[in-house]
């Protein structure tokens, strides 16, 4: 009879009989996805709160994207549970000494803030669309649906006078302002879930939440950049095809906007990247210097078993190379694509090295466990906690984004402010 965890764990030397890699790929995905949510939100707030004008174009985009990512953050946790149908127990009997217990509350609070900010941002659009569709004769089925959706979304507030819109703007600013600490909390909290496990020598550090926040912002910005580039390229392609027919936006126009936005965003990405790496190195150096009991084992994992994952993929390919790529002046789109993809790889590897690396050694400090990601699923468990489960999680925000974009168009809107 197969025990949970046995399918992907290989043991070496002396481990306790019940030890397996219980937290697998979905627990890698969980901080990765929450990180993206928080990061995307922080990026949008840089414009809304701090008024960094150059980020105006990407701000609206990343806010909607953050909202699309939001429902996908708890998904990995759900897939990971042995009893997924009981998930509501966390809300029914939250046991607050546990770091996971408040997850639902933090998460819903954050979701409400993003939703509110989006509503204020798009209220004018909802009203206008609803009005336009209302007066239109012979609506198609799609238009009828859109009319009702938009009408509903106005929540009965049809006032789009100058004064009302001005108030909206203030509300957006406040929401974005409250949102930053909450977004950081949401993710620092994910770090705390790991950092507070005293049984795990690799996880237990008070730096964990801060490290998680920094790398979260890095990954969120990177994902927004890459998605932004892809959508812009798509629009460029469409504009080229339509160029003869309708003289709207021209390719050159889109191109220059795109490059400017990307260059500006890359600067912020670099800043947060430096902060993230410094903290991670500080943690590593501190552990090596103080060399408490567990260090003997950690050293063998960090410099031995996981050397490639940590120093080649995470620090090398994931941090150093994109750092150089993005730092060289005259950033081109192509270079930005490579750089941001590598950054995402780096952050993913960091999550991997924390979650899987933290279970690579036994609680006995005298044995190892190796993780083998299930690729071809042969039952529900190896699907949920395998490659395809992870890909499902990665893919789902794009589907949501596609739908959201229909209701809250990200591009081609005239800014009211």
């Amino acid at each position: 009879m197969m025990v949970h965890g046995e399918a992907w764990t290989i043991k070496e030397l002396f481990t306790y009989p019940n030890e397996y890699i219980y937290w697998s790929i979905q627990i890698v995905m969980y901080p990765f996805m929450t990180g993206l949510v928080a990061g995307a939100f922080v990026l949008s707030s840089l414009y809304h709160v701090f008024g960094i004008k150059q980020l105006k174009d990407i701000a609206r985009f990343s806010l909607v994207f953050s909202f699309a990512l939001l429902p996908c953050a708890p998904l990995p946790l759900l897939l990971h549970l042995q009893q997924p149908l009981r998930n509501m127990h966390v809300m029914m009997t939250p046991h607050f000494t546990s770091a996971i217990a408040a997850f639902g509350i933090v998460f819903v609070t954050y979701g409400a803030i993003v939703a509110a900010e989006l509503w204020f941002l798009y209220r004018k659009h909802f009203v206008e669309t609803a009005l336009a569709l209302k007066n239109k004769a012979d609506k198609s089925a799609y238009e009828t649906v859109m009319y009702h959706v938009n009408n509903l979304l106005t929540l009965g507030a049809h006032d789009i006078s100058e004064l009302a819109l001005h108030r909206d703007e203030r509300a957006i600013k406040i929401m974005a302002g409250i949102g930053i600490p909450v977004a950081c909390f949401l993710h620092g909290y994910a770090g705390f879930i790991f950092g507070s496990v005293k049984a795990n020598a690799l996880w237990m550090t008070p730096l964990m939440p801060v490290i998680f926040i920094m790398s979260a912002v890095v990954s969120g910005i990177a994902l927004c950049m890459i998605t932004y580039i892809v959508t812009m390229e798509g629009r460029k392609f469409l504009a080229k095809r339509k160029a003869a027919a309708c003289p709207g936006e021209s390719c050159a126009e889109i191109e220059s906007v795109e490059v400017n936005v990307i260059r500006m965003t890359a600067k912020y990405l670099l800043g947060f990247l430096v902060a993230a790496i410094s903290l991670e190195l500080l943690d590593l150096i501190f552990r090596g210097y103080t060399a408490v009991k567990s260090w003997d084992m950690l050293r063998r994992v960090i410099y031995g078993k996981d050397f490639y994952n940590i120093f080649v993929f995470q620090y090398g390919l994931g941090n150093l190379v994109p750092f150089i790529l993005l730092l060289i002046p005259g950033l081109t789109i192509r270079r930005a694509v490579v750089g941001t993809l590598l950054v995402l790889l780096g952050v993913f590897m960091m999550r991997w090295n924390v979650v899987i690396g933290g279970q690579a050694f036994s609680l006995t400090f005298a044995g190892f466990m190796h993780y083998h990601l299930p690729i071809i699923p042969h039952d529900m468990e190896t699907f949920r906690e395998g490659l395809f489960g992870a890909l499902f999680i990665i893919g789902s925000p794009y589907v949501l984004f596609f739908i959201l974009n229909k209701i809250m168009p990200v591009f081609g809107m005239k800014e009211s402010h």
Binding site: M1, H4, Y16, P17, Y22, M92, T93, T97, I100, A101
Partner: protein
């Protein structure tokens, strides 16, 4: 016509009305509930004593536990297990002493060969003349006084009874695995049939009836004993209070309540 003001006012009133009956119920913690059902629960604190000097590694306790507590016999998880430690003088490694430890299948079938499985198909067979010392250490849940597993359970499915035993509510556990990660002793696992967290509970169904745990009854050498620490005349209590006993991994601050006679520094 409902105005916005009216709507808000009515919502607030409705919420207040709803919360009134909710306040009429008292929320009972499992501790309180226990205290009500068993009149004076505070008279018992179960503790365990393992005399490693007496253990011969036969594994009868593991077998008995698996059968008693319905842990599938062939599944590679177990509520209790026995570890073997072999400390050798190993010239090859040019260190004076080398520690080997193992617990094949949790020692369910006892230790029948001198071979040690190192994993990856490597087997090590220490020479008799190289062995400095060797001994067995049975392990089980420590029913900690400050249990890390109870602290981290997000839904309260893992809880501690007044008599010190840490229990799991199989109907409420969501299977997040946080407790499995939180326990420094690696005693927790997922039950392959029920798909919830599982671990030793000192055979709670037996001790509550005044019986001994299955492993205590199964051990032919008296290496395992269970007692009540709140009773000063209890045999186990007297040994704990008067002899030199040790506990496992006290640096985690869990205050384990399984005591060991003859613990050695090599024990993990």
């Amino acid at each position: 016509m409902i105005t916005r003001r009216k709507l808000i006012a009515n919502t607030l009133k409705g919420m207040a009305a709803l919360s009134l009956p909710a306040a009429a119920f008292e929320i009972l913690t499992p501790d309180r509930l226990n205290a009500i059902i068993y009149n004076d629960p505070a008279k018992v604190r179960y503790v365990f004593l393992v005399d490693t000097n007496k253990c011969v590694g036969c594994g009868l306790c593991v077998k008995a536990c698996k059968n008693e507590n319905e842990i599938p016999y062939d599944a590679n998880v177990t509520r209790t297990w026995v570890e073997r430690y072999i400390i050798t003088r190993d010239e090859r490694h040019e260190v004076l002493e080398k520690v080997f430890a193992d617990s094949p299948k949790g020692a369910r079938d006892g230790f029948i060969t001198g071979q040690i499985d190192l994993g990856h198909g490597n087997i090590y067979m220490p020479k008799k003349e190289d062995i400095d010392k060797a001994f067995f250490v049975p392990k089980l849940c420590n029913q900690c006084d400050n249990p890390a597993c109870v602290q981290v359970c997000p839904v309260g499915a893992t809880y501690q009874a007044d008599d010190g035993v840490v229990l799991i509510d199989r109907k409420w556990c969501i299977g997040c695995g946080y407790c499995v990660m939180g326990c420094p002793y690696g005693v927790r696992f997922f039950h392959p049939v029920h798909r919830v967290a599982d671990k030793c509970n000192f055979c709670y169904h037996r001790i509550k009836k005044g019986m001994k745990t299955a492993c205590v009854d199964a051990c032919p050498f008296g290496a395992r004993l269970i007692g009540n620490y709140k009773d000063p005349d209890d045999a186990v209590t007297r040994i704990i209070n008067t002899k030199r006993v040790g506990v496992l991994k006290e640096e985690f601050g869990t205050r384990p309540q399984v005591f060991y006679l003859g613990l050695s520094m090599e024990v993990r």
